[in-house]
């Protein structure tokens, strides 16, 4: 069957024009509309977390702290961490691009459990309201890691409300992951074998495995924490018979794999974009997909590297150190694959590609500095300093947020049916890259020099680097506000997008932009491998 047969005639209503009432949005089970609902929600949280970060950088302009209150500063970085980790980074790509694209890429009409999908959004919104209550009723001062016994005994903040919000949000994450795994197993279009699936789907599959298997552990841990705090009984508090190390083990058993929940979808996005803008097949497809799986598996075995200085045995530290080095291998393989894809390709530097290239550079930097802190001796010096802060921001913000923007620009024409302004897109990609490096590179040096994280004041010697970092943060925030402005503008004034404006492969480009409510007029049949790009100027091989 010809693929062009699945293109919608212009008269067919898209998912956006299929009902205009509030009810048609709030009670929708259409995965594409739920993706939009999520997009609006997480964008709000992204800017709440961003404002908290901006205030932190504002405070750190002078050594004694512009805000002048350690208590306020503690609440700011906790707000920033909690909101960014659980209400932006963990859900970001899966619930927006994932929700929108998984059925389209599979050649399916929806996810396996559409009502569960809508329910997950309501859970997310409910969790969001609870966390906003916790933050605006006075905040939490414990840091996003909720270490005991600080959280259970000494903290005066709204720890239980914040924990409840994270537990509820966690069930939303579990619902999303479950939906993706089952959909990928059960709803692949005829001919869509596992090795014909785009890497984005493989990445989300690996991500979902972590979501469904790690998140419940966090839920149980935070329930125990709340139980201890409410009833003053000993689970984690050593003064009343508990064990704080147990909390750290359980917390990081979730929270380290969660780092890969955040980065794996970004790797998937980049794996879609690089071949499309290099006009070449993805180099080493099977290596890329199995590296995603390998990362997901190994991610469960490295949590102990957060506890090198917490009093664990030296043998456990050695093993966790080696395993942490091992998890870097599949990530590095992927970086080489992306570079191999570009090699001798016909590269176009449109905005999605610029963001994707930014991702590769910043992710590599974040990944390599991760090896510094995986090494036992170096970690003793670097742990709890700004080096660690810079390291994971290179991965989370430089890597993941860049990938999120890359994907958002790449699929924006598909999602909205509108073309975003290209020049603004490229300008924002550059501004974000520059602002990001200026913000976080000085923090590597600060950490190396010994500045500890989470302090509202610092010795005057560190001021120059801190001012540089704060200046970078202001550029970065401009870079993040720009897409908000021009993408919103393009919704109303952007040019209409064709079905496949980038000339990309993948089933999502073979339906109209924006897609129909039922995605495809007739169920597509897949016969070609993924990333079947023809190199520009190459002679078609005779088969």
């Amino acid at each position: 069957m010809s693929m062009t047969a699945t293109q919608a005639p212009p008269a067919a209503p898209s998912y956006l024009t299929d009902g205009f009432t509030l009810r048609s949005w709030l009670l929708t089970t259409d995965h594409k509309r739920i993706a939009i609902l999520y997009l609006v929600s997480i964008t709000i949280f992204f800017f709440i977390g961003g404002v908290a970060a901006a205030l932190m950088r504002y405070n750190l302009i002078v050594p004694e702290g512009m805000i002048g209150s350690a208590e306020t500063y503690n609440r700011l970085f906790t707000t920033h961490g909690v909101v960014m980790v659980w209400f932006f980074l963990v859900p970001a790509i899966p619930v927006t691009l994932g929700n929108f694209l998984v059925p389209l890429m599979l050649g399916a009409r929806d996810l396996a459990f559409p009502k569960l999908n809508l329910f997950s959004w309501y859970l997310f919104v409910f969790a969001g309201l609870v966390v906003l209550y916790a933050l605006f009723a006075g905040g939490v001062d414990t840091g996003w890691t909720f270490y005991t016994p600080l959280t259970t005994l000494y903290s005066k903040g709204h720890v239980v409300a914040a924990a409840a919000a994270i537990i509820i949000g966690g069930f939303s994450t579990i619902a999303t992951g479950l939906n993706f795994i089952i959909s990928i197993h059960r709803l692949r279009a005829p001919g869509m074998t596992w090795y014909k699936m785009p890497v984005f789907l493989w990445s989300l599959y690996a991500t979902s495995v972590i979501m469904v298997l790690a998140t419940p552990v966090l839920a149980m841990t935070l329930l125990l924490l709340a139980f201890e705090r409410i009833f003053h009984v000993g689970v984690f508090d050593p003064a009343i018979g508990g064990d704080p190390l147990l909390f750290q083990h359980l917390f990081w058993f979730y929270s380290h794999p969660a780092v890969y929940i955040m980065i794996l979808p970004g790797m998937g996005v980049v794996s879609e974009i690089i071949p499309a803008f290099s006009s070449k097949q993805l180099f080493g497809y099977k290596f890329v997909v199995w590296c995603s799986v390998a990362i997901a598996v190994i991610s469960f075995l490295v949590w102990g590297h957060h506890m090198f200085v917490a009093g664990t045995s030296v043998y456990s530290a050695l093993v966790f150190s080696i395993l942490s080095f091992m998890v870097a291998v599949p990530s590095a393989i992927k970086v080489f694959n992306w570079i191999g894809t570009m090699h001798k390709g016909f590269i176009r530097f449109d905005a999605p590609m610029l963001y994707a290239l930014g991702f590769i550079g910043l992710f590599t930097m974040g990944g390599l500095t991760g090896l510094f802190v995986a090494a036992l001796a170096a970690d003793v010096h670097l742990t709890q300093t700004y080096f660690v802060v810079a390291h994971f921001h290179y991965v989370m913000v430089g890597g993941m947020v860049s990938a999120y923007f890359a994907g958002m620009h790449f699929w924006w024409p598909k999602i909205t049916g509108r073309i975003y302004p290209e020049m603004w897109g490229r300008a924002a990609a550059f501004i974000i890259f520059i602002g990001f490096n200026l913000t976080f590179f000085p923090q590597f040096i600060l950490g190396y020099l010994g500045m500890p994280r989470r302090y509202h004041s610092y010795p005057a010697d560190f001021q120059v680097l801190n001012v540089l970092s704060s200046a970078g943060a202001s550029i970065l925030s401009l870079g993040y506000l720009l897409p908000l402005a021009y993408l919103t503008w393009s919704l109303f004034y952007g040019k209409r997008a064709s079905a496949n404006p980038w000339g990309a492969t993948g089933l999502e480009w073979q339906t109209s932009s924006p897609p129909l409510t039922e995605n495809f007029l007739s169920v597509p049949t897949v016969t070609e491998p993924p990333y079947n790009y023809t190199p520009q100027g190459a002679v078609q091989p005779n088969v």
């Binding site: 709803l187 552990v217 009984v233």
Partner: protein, 216 residues
């Protein structure tokens, strides 16, 4: 309802495709539950490892008779529910309802025994950790840890039981509206998986609470 019961959502190719997918979804959900309770069991074993004598002291205060009776009740309940499913595969809706009602009553009996009698007795004997905890001496801390996990674990398991009872009620209600037949019984099947899983959790809690500390 019977004429609509074989319809399926537009992302599926057949009613059977949808039914099998629902069952696989429940299995995956149960995998998340394994990890959820797994964290509790890990915490339990970890804490016991450091306070073995105290944990055993605590365990010896629990009611072996009620715990064992509850284990028998739950296993029977799962068995009865499974028998109900066997009947609906043969198209016997009436037997499904009867067996679900028995399974529900057994589940409710568990809750009454556990929380109405056993917990009340535990509170009366000051076994809830805190200032008035009844076990004194060097083993107090370990015994308190035991009872922290005892009360927490049984409460979380009890919550799962309550959800299970609500789901079984829903099955009874739908079956009484003749929603299920020999060709459509996905909801009883899916709820049955959950119901049996909650029993499985108890089968780990039971030895942790009542048996391990009573060993020689």
């Amino acid at each position: 309802m019977s004429e609509t019961s074989l319809t399926y959502e537009f992302q599926y190719s057949s009613a059977q495709h949808q039914a099998e997918t629902a069952v696989s979804g429940m299995w995956l959900f149960l995998a998340t539950e394994v990890l959820f309770f797994g964290a509790l069991f890990l915490a339990w074993i970890y804490a016991r490892h450091w306070n073995q004598a105290g944990f055993d002291m605590g365990a010896q205060q629990t009611s072996f008779v009620i715990g064992t009776a509850n284990t028998v009740i739950l296993i029977t309940s799962s068995f009865v529910y499974s028998a109900g499913i066997a009947f609906i595969t043969a198209g016997n809706s009436r037997r499904l309802i009867q067996f679900c009602v028995i399974a529900w009553l057994l589940g409710a009996a568990f809750l009454v025994l556990k929380f109405g009698i056993e917990w009340r007795d535990d509170f009366a004997r000051h076994l809830f950790p805190g200032a008035s905890f009844s076990i004194q001496g060097p083993l107090r801390s370990g015994a308190e840890s035991f009872f922290v996990l005892y009360f927490f674990g049984t409460a979380i398991h009890g919550l799962h039981m309550v959800i299970g009872l609500a789901l079984v009620s829903w099955i009874i209600l739908r079956a009484s509206r003749h929603d299920f037949s020999a060709s459509y019984f996905t909801p009883p099947l899916v709820v049955g998986l959950y119901w049996s899983f909650v029993d499985m959790v108890w089968l780990i809690l039971y030895p942790l609470i009542y048996l391990v500390g009573r060993g020689p």
